[in-house]
Subunit: 231 residues, 2 copies
DNA sequence: GAGTGGTCTAGACCACTTG
DNA sequence: AAGTGGTCTAGACCACTCT
């Protein structure tokens, strides 16, 4: 029995503790909000906030009238922050630099236009960038930008600020897809300073502003540059 | 001017629209909660919930007394759901099956004990599993389980339920790390039905219950089995 | 010191879902 | 029909932090 009124985070922790020690076993219905509010000596709103947090985290399933159940096979979530590559490198204490290897206007390959859901005949801006940490390559970036969606990019000096950073700062997107895969380095080995038989981690992103494609980018990471997330 | 009172999601969308069209430009201070409550004709609590959602999504920075600012370089987040592999396969409409290739008790390699922060002399349960979708290999899983943390696993029939699923259902974890990398298939090619020179996507996870290590697992995905997330 | 967001309350009404 | 969570309100107090 709590001696003091509890805040929502304390209620959340108390309920989480019961899930952990199986006082609330997987699949079981837990008491309703009004009941818990009385038990914890707080308002129902406070209980609601606590249970909502646990539901968002995947530990509870809530349904109107059906009540709140402990998730039987909780789906845990790992969060991958997508930001500016320069900041990630600098956060690891390394010096960031980059080279703009190519900048040209061209009609993209049909498979690129397809995943971007763009007119296959429309020319786009094609950019290849090499990102480095303390001089060592950490990513080769092959990018297409639809400059009919983001016309301002034609004026940007992409040797002074990386495309990556320019887009994050100037071209918000509404949604996108992200894919992880692995590929042999092949001819990309030279620029990345690895062997052609080495495996590269490939992160592919495609983003849109509503229905308009913004960019399609593939980042190739050399061996030794793994991507780590906390759970 | 809104003709009707607004719910928190409408307030969120209205503010988001102003961020998008730069009525609230990057880095700028936006009006405080009380002001917006008057403008939108709702309670401050409602505005608070809306702005909190946008702050959680990374579009706003909020500080007591400092007010609320539009994030200059928003860090977008991609969410990777970690659940039961069987469910993921079945969700794609394929038939799931698996083989337990190895099950034995052994002292793990020192680097495994190290990342698990476990006693390097303590034996653990070593399991190798092949996961299939419609008969085709989708992942080779190499796992170590600390059965001093999860003793019940010694009684489990891991040929009837995969270790993966057993652990999700029976061994909740408090935290963990997740790493993506790429590796040549090498000798793993045989089991996965690919060539030794092919590149594999490797997902490594290590989980703990408080300070006690639970499991360390590496899942090797053959070419063609990419991992896709929505943003 | 003062202004901001963070949280709590008590009550109310609503939306949804189940029996 | 009825029970549950989802949300809104009006007001209040508090915690933080900027000046």
């Amino acid at each position: 029995m709590p001696s003091e009124a509890m805040g929502w985070q304390q209620v959340r922790d108390a309920v989480m503790a019961r899930i952990r020690d199986r006082s609330y076993p997987p699949g079981a219905l837990i008491p309703n909000e009004a009941h818990l509010a009385v038990e914890f000596g707080c308002a129902r709103t406070t209980v609601n906030r606590a249970l909502r947090a646990l539901a968002d985290a995947g530990f509870l399933d809530r349904r109107r009238k059906g009540g709140t159940r402990v998730t039987a096979a909780p789906i845990r979530k790992a969060v991958l922050p997508i930001g500016i590559l320069r900041h990630e490198v600098e956060a690891r204490g390394a010096a960031y630099s980059f080279d703009l290897v190519r900048r040209e206007i061209a009609v993209p390959p049909s498979e690129v236009a397809e995943v971007m859901r763009a007119d296959p005949a429309r020319p786009m801006l094609n950019l290849i960038t090499l990102h480095r940490a303390d001089g060592r390559p950490v990513a080769r970036e092959e990018r297409w930008v639809d400059h009919s969606t983001v016309p301002a990019i034609m004026e940007a000096d992409l040797t002074a600020i990386s495309v990556n950073e320019w887009l994050v700062r100037n071209a918000p997107y509404t949604h996108g897809t992200l894919t992880f895969a692995a590929e042999p380095a092949g001819t990309r080995a030279a620029l990345l300073g690895c062997a052609p038989g080495d495996s590269l981690l490939v992160m592919t992103r495609t983003t849109w502003m509503d229905a308009d494609p913004i960019t399609h980018v593939r980042q190739f990471h050399p061996p030794g540059h793994a991507l780590t997330l906390q759970m």
